[in-house]
Amino acid sequence: MTNVLFVEKIGKQYGDTIAVQDVSFHVARNEIVGLLGPNGAGKTTTINMVLGVLEPTWGSIKIEGIDVAKQRSKALQCTNFAAVYAPLPGNLSVYQNLRVFGLIYGVKNLSNRIETLLTQFELERFRDMKAGVLSSGEQTRLCLAKAMLNEPHLLLLDEPTASLDPATAHDTRAMIQSFATKGLCGVLWTSHNMYEVEDVCDRVLFLSRGRILLEGDPKVLPQAHGKATLEDLFIAVARE
């Protein structure tokens, strides 16, 4: 398996505060990696650095071997993301949002791609509705459709199923898993739902106070550390 994301000893310092310290990890093709940790652990800071919207104070990030700091546009061409805190503009319709971001990502056969995603994410009936009037679950589906527009090699998902009902969340997980295993994609996934993480992720990284404390298979990691479940392990790590 080749790496789509390679993060080497990145750190972020604000004045005297170190938000992320010497974090290194990789995401391989067809792999879903869970980035776990309590609030304020540095997950979103790490994701923002991978997305090129936050400059690391030190360290390097490579997407498909391309250095984000040196060739930002090229690296982000094959990347996409969805996050609960980054809804798409509410004053554009579902179709308009997908068209605008499709053009930005240079998606070929954009009209066909949009139709496919509208069907896949059950958004056809909202096609001409302003994104701002959709329910939070529908907005999440729209964000996920946007994240799939360019069939990214690296997909960053920050709590992608947080606003979805259990049935839709289940279908969405299945869709992302299928996308990750069949295509060229690797996924970095953050979630506070440990059952979801255990179900979806091939590997997890536990981040606390800006450092990676644990790494491994979510199905065997709890037992290896004397805990019954991943949630118990999460609580133990968060309280450390």
Partner: protein, 267 residues
């Protein structure tokens, strides 16, 4: 430069404007009101002043040119503010879109919106109040070019200020043309200003335009060197504005301002 990415910004703005009467109306309403107001003021001045002097090309023409500059500047700023108001920075800047493509998109959006305002002003000023652009001759081209470039430059500077200081700082931006106008000599020769104001005027490209507008109306020749100076200054201002925006953007990426923009907490 990727044209598809630049066009995305223009299309986004087209979608927003075409779908919203609240965005369409300001494109021409305020400039139309200005034309009507100043049209009647100039007609009144023509009726009470000594015969032979026509105030229409002096005042109405000046207001038209100044409003064109204002529309260009606000066109750039408005297109940028759409991303501020919809909290879209993370979505926009976490894409392959480069800063030059983004700024080009803002400028192209402004060309579209300011052209509508210019067209409405020309129709009103020429049909109702008899303003003829033939009076300015070929000099009209550099006049519009200087004002367009300076409007672009101030629009980009405005966007940089809002990016740096947060959404609330937009209130610094809208009055900028009013702040500049006393120094630009829109309605009077800059020689009437105190010396310290004249120094500032010489650094402002529009001052060279309005000095020449008055020269033409007074039957004097256009100063080619002054117009070249105006164009050169305006080009310099655009380059400076782009440099400033890139600098502010890099600062925002370094400090995390883009990722946490609405918080306005990062100084």
């Amino acid at each position: 430069m990727n044209l598809s990415r630049t066009s995305a910004i223009v299309i986004r703005h087209f979608y927003l404007v075409s779908g919203s009467p609240a965005r369409v109306l300001p494109l021409f309403a305020w400039v139309a009101i200005d034309m009507v107001l100043w049209g009647f003021i100039t007609k009144y001045l023509n009726s009470v002043s000594a015969a032979g002097f026509d105030f229409v090309p002096v005042f109405l023409g000046a207001v038209l040119l100044w409003d064109f500059f204002t529309r260009v500047m606000h066109g750039v700023t408005m297109a940028f503010m759409e991303d501020v108001w919809s909290r879209n920075f993370l979505n926009i800047f976490a894409t392959p879109l480069s800063i030059s493509e983004y700024v080009s998109g803002l400028v192209l959006s402004s060309i579209g919106t300011s052209a509508i305002g210019l067209l409405v002003m020309i129709i009103l000023a020429s049909t109702i109040f008899g303003l003829s652009f033939l009076a300015y001759g070929l000099a009209l081209i550099p006049f519009l070019l200087v004002l367009f470039l300076f409007g672009i430059a101030l629009g980009i500077v405005g966007a940089a200020i809002v990016l740096r200081f947060g959404p609330a700082s937009e209130w610094f931006i809208w009055p900028v043309p009013a702040l500049v106008s006393p120094f630009a000599g829109v309605f009077y020769p800059i020689t009437i200003l105190p010396p310290w104001m004249q120094y500032i005027s010489r650094a402002l490209p529009p001052a060279y335009v309005f000095e020449n507008v008055r020269a033409i109306v007074a039957g004097q020749p256009v100063s080619g060197s002054a117009l070249i100076a105006g164009v050169a200054l305006a080009v310099f201002d655009v380059l400076f504005a782009c440099w400033l925006f890139v600098r502010v953007y890099k600062h925002s990426v370094r400090t995390g301002l883009i990722a946490r923009y609405s918080a306005e907490s990062v100084t």
